[in-house]
């Protein structure tokens, strides 16, 4: 009797063991292991930029491949896409992650993205460029140079119009090194990679600051003093307010005293753009003690305008981005009215001193990326990638 029970149990165990092995194989698959296929889930998060000649460049991700195409009619029709990475990689392209594209004055196309690794919260910052007008792209390189399996994610990319470019990202190397020594370390760090020769070479990574929030997108603008970065910083152990800094030896400056103390991931970053006369436009999201919602601030030298609230908090207004050129500035964000997403905008014609009323310029009922503001030749546009309508470019004036 006892022996029969054991046999029965043994059989059960063997069957269960097989089931377990199956579950493990599946788990590895969904984790994005190196040996397996890319996520088949379609991604909507894209980037776009107008070059000096008015050509609109679009970067999007399909099945682990970064695709670049262009439009000469303001986004009505796009060229056949060209693949950037020869082998598929798990490119972050949803939520706070999207590929980045920038075009230099000489026509070089620069791209950066985050390769998400199978281990939780790890990734690498990747870069490629095209020096032949988007016909071919260089073999992607990894910009983080620490050789650690760590978090290198939430990249931003900016070019100065000439041959200089900067990439910043959130980096877990200092946290991991501290933990190996048994020390505590709150948050992660902000690192940068810089190139002065059109992306042919990059200098060694530079640490901009330690103790930043872990999973909000970063932002960059290029000013007369070089690149300026915006990120969600950590003050004390868990106050997650925004900060900015010039990459060339600037001190870290708090964007606003929101006082959002929280042991959580907001997963909700900010935006930054440079306008005329060195003015910076910053947008961000907070649920701090002192203010809650989306806000705009104009930064001119040491003077910051009072935080201006925008967006309908009842409609989950969030994920704002700002674009600027000369005296024009444009803020775009997304709202949800209970049925549909709306692409929302605010426009300024006086370099951010005053702003018009919020407008909903498009709506969609299915999945949608965040609307992206673009300004070219003094004209404001919003590019919006949605499941039902594809990539739409809406001219605002």
């Amino acid at each position: 009797m006892a022996r029969r029970t054991i046999l029965l149990l043994g059989g059960l165990l063997a069957a269960a063991g097989l089931a377990l092995a199956g579950a493990h194989a599946q788990a590895r698959g969904a984790d994005g292991g190196k040996e397996m296929a890319m996520p088949s889930r379609p991604t909507l998060a894209v980037s776009a930029v107008f070059d000096g000649a008015g050509r609109l460049w679009l970067a999007r991700v399909e099945n682990g491949t970064l695709l670049v195409s262009h439009s000469d009619d303001g986004g009505q029709n796009f060229s056949a896409p060209v693949a950037v990475n020869p082998a598929p990689e798990n490119i972050g392209a949803e939520g706070e992650n999207r590929p980045k594209i920038a075009v230099a004055g000489n026509g070089t196309i620069h791209l950066s993205w985050t390769l998400l690794l199978p281990q939780p919260y790890t990734g690498e910052v990747r870069y490629s460029r095209s020096t032949d007008g988007g016909r071919t792209f260089s073999v992607p390189v990894t910009l983080n140079d620490d050789g650690r399996l760590s978090s290198h994610r939430f990249d931003s990319l900016i070019v100065d119009g000439g041959g200089r470019l900067a990439v910043v990202w959130l980096d877990g190397r200092d946290r991991d090194a501290a933990r190996e020594k048994g020390e505590k370390f709150s948050g992660v760090s902000l690192y940068a990679a810089r190139s002065d020769d059109d992306g042919a070479h990059f200098r060694r990574n530079e640490k901009i600051t330690a103790h930043t929030c872990e999973c909000c997108r970063t932002a960059l603008a290029w000013t007369k003093d070089g690149p300026v970065a915006l990120w969600r910083n950590l003050y004390g152990t868990n106050v997650r307010d925004f900060a900015l800094a010039k990459l060339d030896g600037g001190e870290v400056r708090r964007l606003a005293d929101d006082d959002w103390a929280i042991d959580a991931c907001p997963h909700h970053g900010g935006g930054l753009a440079g306008g005329a006369d060195g003015v910076l436009h910053a947008v961000w999201y907070t649920q701090g003690k002192n203010r809650q919602g989306l806000f705009y601030r104009r930064i001119e030298g040491d003077t910051l305008s009072a935080p201006m609230a925008f967006g309908n908090a009842q409609a989950q207004a969030g994920h704002a981005t700002v674009a600027a050129a000369g005296d024009k500035a444009l803020i775009a964000w997304r709202e949800f009215d209970g049925n549909a997403y709306g692409a929302m905008v605010l426009q300024s014609g006086d370099n951010g001193k005053s702003w018009g009323a919020a407008r909903r310029i498009a709506a969609t009922e299915g999945a949608a990326d965040y609307p992206l503001p673009l300004i070219h030749n003094g004209r404001a546009h919003v590019l919006w990638h949605t499941r039902h309508h594809g990539v739409r470019v809406i001219a605002l004036d």
């Binding site: 006892a2 054991i6 149990l9 043994g10 059960l12 165990l13 269960a16 063991g17 089931a19 377990l20 579950a23 599946q26 788990a27 590895r28 698959g29 969904a30 984790d31 996520p39 088949s40 889930r41 939520g95 706070e96 939780p120 919260y121 872990e214 999973c215 868990n238 929280i262 042991d263 959580a264 991931c265 907001p266 997963h267 909700h268 999201y285 649920q287 908090a313 009842q314 989950q316 969030g318 949800f336 209970g338 997403y341 009922e365 299915g366 999945a367 949608a368 499941r387």
Partner: protein, 158 residues
């Protein structure tokens, strides 16, 4: 002989500690969860397997608590998507929460589900709702503290 039994049994236990596939969470799921827990307290835990490190810390804490606290009425809702089922199961199994009720957001428009849960929630995680037996709920924003949870649990059983 007894050793063999023990080995076999522990093997079975290890197998049973694998989390099941999370159920699809839709706009009306919370209403149904509330109905099923009518008259009873429960804890709605919102988390992500993909991007929320603090969620993992909170899940580990809950897994520890579950070892000693026999009445831990957890309802775990991941804001990832059904394609992340394997990662969700793996995370919950590792945290020792395999046997709890598990759900995953199933809507191309997650804002719709957030609005159904709490329109004032903008997506930051972890986020927990402590429902008392009359279903008056309090929101805990950010990582839940063990002491806070223990106090709350004690109040529910008084």
């Amino acid at each position: 002989m007894r050793t063999l039994w023990l080995i076999l049994l522990s093997g079975l236990l290890a197998v049973s500690a694998q989390a099941a596939e999370p159920k699809a969470f839709n706009a009306d799921s919370l209403k149904r969860i509330e109905a099923r827990h009518a008259g009873k307290p429960f804890i709605l835990v919102l988390w992500s397997a993909n991007w929320c490190g603090y969620c993992i810390e909170e899940l580990d804490m809950l897994g520890q608590l579950a070892k000693t606290e026999k009445r831990l009425p957890l309802v775990l809702v991941s804001v990832d998507s059904p394609e992340d089922g394997a990662a969700i199961r793996q995370t919950l199994s590792k945290a020792g929460l395999a046997h709890f009720e598990s759900w995953v957001f199933d809507d191309a428009v997650p804002e719709r589900l957030r609005a159904a849960i709490d329109p004032s929630w903008m997506g930051e995680l972890p986020r927990t709702y402590l429902y008392d037996k009359r279903h008056r709920r309090q929101a805990a924003v950010g990582k839940l503290e063990t002491a806070q949870l223990k106090t709350w649990l004690k109040q529910q059983h008084e």
